[in-house]
Subunit: 199 residues, 2 copies
């Protein structure tokens, strides 16, 4: 039996992003070996450093059960469990507007599995839209090194129908209603360029 965690994958400690210059990339700006999260963190750092936007990843939500307070050194959490996030992972402000998004990746070739989206994340996206925030997802097809920006409203029709028919979104649909993001070196995933066209 395989164990499923809330985010659907095993924990791996974040690499430090304090210096991004020493990250080697080949000439085609391939993201091979970098996770989507790492690329987005780098992008958000770029946006902050260049005064473009203030967008952060939220910390991983943990249910803390036990904390040890040793004398003369820092408190240690000795027992905690991963919780399902009640919101999307990224949010912040861009030109006064509220920006909110979730990032997911798949190794599938022809479709994006909908099980990647939790109900409460979808509900959160709907709430954000209802309050005039900008809600979207970044979907990466890892094998093609392609990242699409898909606005939340385009996602809902698939998600809301998933019990009835769909367990995934065909890639050809995503190519149609989503926008392929040209990957770069710095920033790596310049998603705000697409947001610019709608605000």
């Amino acid at each position: 039996m395989s164990v499923r965690y809330p985010n659907g994958k095993k924990f791996s400690p974040n690499r430090s992003f304090s210096t991004t210059n020493n990250v080697k990339k080949d000439e085609r700006f391939s993201n091979r070996g970098m996770t989507l999260e790492e690329d987005i963190n780098e992008t958000n750092e770029y946006y902050r450093a260049h005064n473009i936007a203030v967008i952060h990843k939220k910390p991983t939500p943990l249910q803390i059960v036990n904390v040890h307070y040793p004398k003369r050194s820092a408190a240690v959490v000795t027992e905690a469990y991963f919780k399902k996030p009640s919101t999307t992972d990224y949010n912040g402000v861009y030109k006064g507007r509220y920006i909110d998004f979730e990032a997911k990746e798949t190794k599938n070739k022809t479709s994006f599995p909908l099980k990647n989206f939790h109900d409460h994340q979808i509900n959160h996206m709907k709430q954000v839209l209802a309050h005039d925030g900008i809600s979207f997802t970044l979907l990466r097809f890892t094998l093609f090194d392609e990242v699409f920006l898909v606005f939340a409203k385009d996602l809902f029709s698939y998600v809301d129908n998933q019990d009835k028919k769909r367990k995934s979104i065909p890639k050809k649909d995503i190519e149609q209603f989503g926008t392929l993001i040209t990957l770069g070196l710095h920033p790596r995933i310049d998603y705000l360029k697409i947001i610019d066209k709608m605000i």
Copy 2:
């Protein structure tokens, strides 16, 4: 020697807010015994439930060092450390605008200590303002059960000068440039009422 943690206090597990009706309050709506965080969480839940705004507290940032993956049960974090938050604790969207704030409380009677604010939190507030977000703090004087909304811009002059002269903001100053929030039963700290006057 007392041990200081990033948030300046010992860890206490959150109470559940799934049902707020069983929380007993006396007739004067005193918040005695409830932490500021609990009151704000209840308020944000109220805002979400009544479709007023979507504002959440960010999870406590932890540096995860060790995770144990037992067979047939959930992953357990067995070693993690509290990190200094790089942003404020609360953010979200209200009427399309980006809302961002920090909440602090003190047992002092005549002034609010500035050591409560970390440099990176102040920097974050400045960035939010620069991008036309709405940035403020909620300051509670616990002994008087008074909560003031203080806009970030009013805080900066004190914080920026603290090395030179001030280690705290006099309460009488806060009473002047801040706004006292009338505490209620549901929501408990209706801070958006004050934001309404400025947007």
